[in-house]
């Protein structure tokens, strides 16, 4: 197990942000961290990166505490939502910090410099937001880390850069067995790249696992009946969402598709249609079922 978080607590003053959070992220995995605004995603990433000190609990990267053991932070590349660039910095001048403090790979640096269409002489202050993101990602990749933390850093990349970054990540995962944790609001993008996910809510990971398996376990069902039905008629299902329009019912149900279909057919519907859910829908329905969702 590469990253293991146990009973993590973090408060800002009287506000409890993370509350007894537990999480495991495997090697060679891209983990999508999602949650509503203020759920604590950035806080969690800063805690993993060793920027914040936890009030309680442990964060272990290959069994080393990331806050107490600074050496293991050399294995972590943290790309925050808004990266810091010193006044007058050029892409080349930023290299100094990384090459003196991390296991910096000049070869990888040159490779990704070309991949992201960047030049060492470029002044960072004059770059667009998307180009600045590329600079941050360039250094994250050039450090050859074991764990990359991307705090909304994936958002804002234009499609070609995103594609290149995805390719670079895939290579690193394949060759080095690295893990990546991406927090993002763009769930469609995450769906393309992540193999596992965690939904952060109320300071805890309320749902997590393999993305594909989870998506397979949640489906949308569209049914038509000869008579009108109410939500109570479906109380035996693990219902995440219910919507009735006359005799047409739309449900989102958690459970094995075959088992759910069998139970639904017992209700003698005129029509049954099964549709897969997207990651975005999965997120919305999960939160909705917990009373935090968006209509």
């Amino acid at each position: 197990m590469m990253l293991r978080i146990e009973h993590l607590n973090k408060s800002f003053g009287s506000k409890n942000v993370l509350n007894d959070l537990n999480l495991k992220v495997n090697d060679s995995s891209i983990f999508g961290l999602v949650g509503i605004n203020g759920a604590g995603k950035s806080t969690l990433l800063r805690l993993i990166a060793g920027v914040y000190e936890a009030d309680g609990g442990t964060i272990l990267l290959n069994e080393h505490n990331t806050y107490l053991n600074p050496e293991c932070r050399a294995e972590i590349a943290f790309v925050p939502d808004e990266a810091y660039y010193p006044l007058g910095a050029t892409v080349g001048s930023l290299k100094l910090l990384y090459e003196t403090m991390y296991h910096f790979s000049e070869e990888a640096y040159q490779k990704y410099l070309k991949l992201f269409d960047l030049d060492e002489k470029m002044s960072v202050a004059n770059l667009s937001k998307g180009m600045k993101r590329r600079v941050s990602l360039l250094f994250a990749l050039a450090l050859k880390p074991k764990l990359i933390l991307l705090d909304e850093a994936y958002d804002g990349l234009e499609p070609l850069a995103r594609l290149r970054f995805k390719k670079a990540l895939s290579e690193l995962i394949e060759d080095e067995g690295i893990s990546v944790i991406i927090s993002s609001h763009n769930l469609r993008e995450l769906e393309d790249i992540c193999d596992s996910f965690g939904i952060l809510e109320g300071g805890r990971i309320v749902s997590y696992g393999d993305l594909l398996e989870s998506k397979e376990m949640i489906n949308k069902y569209q049914l038509a009946f000869t008579d009108e039905k109410t939500k109570d008629d479906f109380k035996d299902f693990d219902l995440l969402h219910f919507e009735a329009e006359g005799r047409v019912i739309r449900l989102v149900v958690r459970g094995n598709t075959e088992d759910v279909m069998a139970k639904l057919n017992e209700m003698k519907p005129v029509l049954v249609d099964v549709l897969p859910v997207s990651f975005e829908e999965l997120f919305i329905y999960e939160l909705e079922s917990r009373g935090e969702g968006h209509e």
Partner: protein, 487 residues
């Protein structure tokens, strides 16, 4: 200490470092240009280098610890693979190399042309003292900077904390001069100095360079070291144990704005209240309103919000009232009894001087200041310079002067205080050659010393009483005066 991080700091700041070192040496070397007094030029060069190094003890903490005050830079620098302790030690080492290293290097270079006039031991003595003073100052300035949660507040904190000894000096001076009869300040300057590591360092380092700057006070080195320890504890608490999430927040640490604003307000209010009570002048509404305005603006700066809260007004009102009660209590208890504390050092001399403008036909009758200066007036000057033991053995003399001193105390706390007359008596301890003075007690009087008492004083071999007439500008001894007037 982390070698990689130190290497990074050197590489990152190399241009600034080289620029500062060259500028430092060039400016320091200017006194030697066209000079034919290498000894004097060396001393002037050291003064320049000291001034620049003192300035750098303020600048370096701001440069090196600014990253904790910005969320984005905190994300970068606090995620580095280096412990907070090592990061702190490396930053401090780098600051020391810049400040102390360049100062000592400059010291050695400037010594070369003055080697015939300045001993190498003196150079080493200066370097040793500079290491102690600058290390302590960097530590304490860093601690003050780190109390805050953003860069602007950090700079304000360094300034505000540095100026506290000055504020205390101002307030205590006002308190003693308004509330304690006879106290004109005494050792206040020394007390304020001991609260300021900067002032003590300035005094001692400049005195090592040139004895005419007041002389080195060895005790100050101990206090500077103590301040260094306090600074080290401060940076440990506010950097190593710092919660990174403080970046860009309001500077609400108990030692930041909450203390600074109220501390400054309270001490200024005490000074105002002391002045008001002492002068019997309670028409200070405009001063109070101005101070309230400054207090409210300071709260705006602290909270980054233009909103006057009831709490702010109530706190200010409560502090004003407390200061006024304090001043009234102090005045009505004769400065909490301090007016009766009269210290004379047994091993020294006593110097008592008395001056009064009186009528020539009655030396105990004081003349109002606005009275026209004509033939009616005479100035009495008394100068008594006596070993303390002799003074204490001379009962009649002692009795007369103590009576006069008590008159001065009574007048200080009376409603007549501030009358338009010229009559003062000053008691001082001093050494045998009247170089070093201490225990200064200064009293205004509303009653001149009577002729009988003047005769008692004049009978002492240590005393000299002279009278100066205004009309012919002649000076007489008391004996001559009495003989002339047939007394």
């Amino acid at each position: 200490m982390n070698k990689n991080y130190l290497k990074y700091l050197f590489k990152n700041y190399r241009i600034g470092l080289v620029f500062y070192a060259v500028l430092f040496l060039c400016i320091a070397g200017t006194p030697f240009i066209g000079s034919n007094n290498p000894g004097g030029s060396h001393s002037a060069a050291i003064e320049i280098m000291l001034a620049m190094s003192f300035a750098m003890t303020f600048v370096m903490p701001v440069i090196l610890f600014a990253f904790v005050h910005r969320r984005r830079s905190a994300d970068l620098f606090l995620a580095l693979p280096i412990s907070r302790k090592d990061q702190l030690l490396t930053n401090l080492l780098f600051a020391l190399i810049v400040v102390v290293g360049i100062f000592c290097l400059g010291n050695l270079i400037m010594w070369i042309p003055a080697a015939a006039y300045v001993s190498f031991t003196d150079v080493m003595r200066m370097c040793g003292a500079a290491i102690l003073c600058f290390t302590s100052l960097i530590l304490i300035h860093s601690a003050w900077y780190l109390i805050a949660n953003n860069i602007f507040d950090g700079v304000v904190m360094i300034g505000a904390w540095s100026a506290i000894p000055l504020l205390l000096y101002f307030t205590i001076s006002e308190f003693t001069s308004s509330m304690i009869a006879g106290r004109s300040g005494g050792n206040l300057f020394e007390i304020s100095m001991s609260l300021s590591p900067l002032a003590m360092s300035v005094r001692n380092l400049f005195s090592i360079n040139d004895i005419s700057n007041g002389g080195v006070v060895p005790a100050y080195f101990v206090l500077i070291l103590l301040w260094g320890v306090i600074g080290a504890l401060g940076v440990w608490k506010h950097f190593v144990r710092r919660k990174s999430e403080r970046a860009e927040q309001l500077s609400d640490d108990p030692l930041a704005y909450p203390l600074i604003i109220n501390f400054y307000a309270l001490f200024i209010l005490i000074a105002i209240a002391c002045a008001a009570v002492s002068e019997r002048s309670f028409e200070l509404i405009s001063i109070y309103l101005s101070l309230l305005f400054i207090y409210v603006v300071a709260q705006f700066v602290y909270r980054r919000k233009i909103k006057v809260s009831v709490k702010t007004l109530v706190t200010f009102g409560a502090m004003s009232l407390a200061a006024l009660i304090f001043a009234l209590a102090a005045f009505n208890t004769q400065g909490f009894g301090l007016a009766q504390r009269y210290t004379i050092d047994d091993n020294t001399h006593l110097h008592i001087s008395y001056n009064a403008m009186v009528y020539r036909d009655d030396l105990s009758r004081l003349v109002a200041r606005k009275y026209p200066l004509d033939g009616d007036i005479v100035w009495i000057n008394m100068d008594l310079f006596i070993p303390v033991k002799d003074y204490e053995a001379d009962e009649p003399l002692n009795s007369v002067l103590e009576k006069t001193r008590q008159n001065g105390i009574a007048y200080f706390y009376s409603d007549e205080r501030g009358a338009d007359i010229n009559c003062v008596i000053d008691f001082n301890n001093c050494d045998h050659n009247r170089q070093k003075y201490s225990n200064d007690y200064y009293y205004a009087l509303n009653e001149a010393i009577s002729l009988e008492d003047l005769k008692v004083i004049d009978s002492s071999p240590f005393s000299q009483i002279t009278l100066q007439t205004y009309e012919d500008d002649r000076t007489w001894t008391l004996k001559q005066w009495l003989e002339r007037n047939g007394d």
